[in-house]
């Protein structure tokens, strides 16, 4: 989906054990940011962040803002949702 001129996409749900991720083009077109909210932020916040970074690199994406609301997702779920949101984002950007 594209809001105005900004490409954006989302994937996942807010059910427990899932993660909801939104991806939008960073306003300046470069850099980008990652914001994570999690019910297990203290224990796993760094792991979640690292997983998201790895997935972005794997998808060959930069210059995107990421908002993630984690409800206790396992790593493979985070990877799956990142893969889905990245594919949708690339589709929206086209």
């Amino acid at each position: 989906m594209t809001v105005g001129q900004i490409a954006s996409a989302q994937a996942g749900t807010l059910e427990s054990n899932d993660i909801f991720i939104r991806m939008t083009a960073a306003p300046d077109g470069k850099g980008g940011s990652i914001a994570v909210e999690s019910i297990v932020m203290q224990q796993f916040g760094d792991d979640i962040l690292q997983t998201i970074k790895d997935c972005l690199a794997a998808a060959g994406l930069d210059g995107v803002d990421i908002h993630a609301n984690d409800r206790g997702a396992l790593k493979c779920t985070i990877v799956a949702r990142m893969e889905a949101v990245a594919a949708r984002y690339k589709e929206a950007r086209r």
């Binding site: 989906m1 749900t13 807010l14 059910e15 427990s16």
Partner: protein, 348 residues
């Protein structure tokens, strides 16, 4: 028939089942709904949630499904749907005891009273709105600020009188114009009329009220006209103002005109008189200015506009509105709004 699962509430029969579920929980069907989502079990509707604009409301589960996370699932689904539609910020209006279960989903509490809570998800959030409002206000440090919140549908001499009176008592006054586009006069026009109408009053600044003052999220009953809910919603709106907006902007006092006609607004004033001082914010209710026969009100202006020949009643209108508003009413755009008013009933 769906044995088990989520389904949008579309047909009259589905709506009736939803209304019945809400009624059992002591709730009314929310107004202005764009989307409704239900959960069915063995063909029976056991949970609903609705979306009106960017506000999630009417979240309700059957008494047999209270503790199974169904409300959260419904809210999560309707939220992601709303974000997918392009809303960056979605809020939920709910009972305060329900707030924690939505907080763990990533909603942030804006404010809560004993009877209602407002939470928001996404951006721009309250903090972002506050940063922007502060920047636009750009007031000096430690200057006590007065505030007026008005719908100005349209801007009248009564509104102008209120601002003049406020500036007399408090040298810096910010006039917030209700941003919700639910009135006969569109927000952009109302804002422009207020800006023109108060120009020349030294010390008065005009800003959009944003989503935190008399909005669908903070005060749904203001737009639905449901008097039964007015006190609850007004309480939440007053709480947001007194506990968040006023302290964050350095507002020391709020000015309102007294309200002899509209019960929802009268209730709002009564609630503010109680809530604002409790948070150390001043509250000043001032008598309406008179003009023509009796006091001036925007509803009187709209009444005249319903007359097809209002163009010939300019002297009467001049008693109620400043020249800047009159000029607008007689413009093509103003005529269009007046025409639409004739086909419109209700308070706005």
């Amino acid at each position: 028939m769906l044995a088990q699962g989520y389904n949008h509430i579309v047909t009259p029969r589905e709506r009736a089942a939803a209304a019945e579920l809400l009624r059992e929980a002591g709730l009314d069907m929310p107004e202005g709904i764009d989307t409704g989502l239900g959960f069915y079990e063995d063909g029976r509707l056991v949970g609903v949630a609705f979306l009106a604009g960017n506000v999630i409301c009417g979240v309700c589960t059957s008494s047999t499904h209270q503790e199974q996370g169904l409300a959260s699932s419904l809210v999560g689904r309707i939220l992601t749907e709303a974000l997918g539609k392009g809303f960056g910020r979605v809020c939920i209006f709910t009972k305060p005891e329900e707030a924690p279960k939505f907080a763990v989903m990533g909603f942030h509490l804006v404010a809560a009273t004993e009877a209602a809570a407002l939470l928001e998800f996404g951006s721009p959030d309250y903090a972002a709105w506050m940063r922007q409002t502060r920047a636009e206000l750009a007031q000096g440090e430690n200057v006590p600020l007065g505030a007026v919140v008005m719908n100005a549908n349209p801007f009248t001499l009564g509104h102008r009188g209120l601002v003049e009176e406020a500036v007399r008592r408090c040298p810096q006054v910010v006039v917030f114009v209700v941003e919700e586009d639910a009135s006969a006069f569109p927000f952009a026009d109302r804002l422009a009329l207020v800006r023109h109408g108060v120009s020349g009053i030294a010390g008065a600044a005009v800003l959009p009220a944003g989503p935190y003052m008399v909005s669908r999220g903070s005060f749904p009953a203001y737009f639905s006209g449901k008097a039964a809910h007015a006190a609850v919603h007004a309480g939440l709106d007053a709480e947001i103002f007194a506990a968040k907006v006023a302290p964050d902007l350095g507002i020391a006092i709020r000015f309102v005109g007294d309200e002899p006609y509209c019960p929802a607004t009268a209730t709002y004033n009564a609630v503010m008189r109680r809530v604002l001082p409790a948070h150390g914010i001043g509250f000043c209710e001032m008598p309406r200015r008179c003009g023509g026969e009796g006091i001036i009100s925007a509803s009187k202006v709209r009444e005249i506009l319903r007359d097809e020949r209002y163009g010939q009643r300019t002297e009467e209108l001049r008693q109620l509105v400043p020249e800047t508003t009159l000029e607008f009413l007689l413009s093509d755009k103003g005529r269009g709004i007046a025409e639409a008013l004739r086909g419109r009933s209700g308070r706005h």
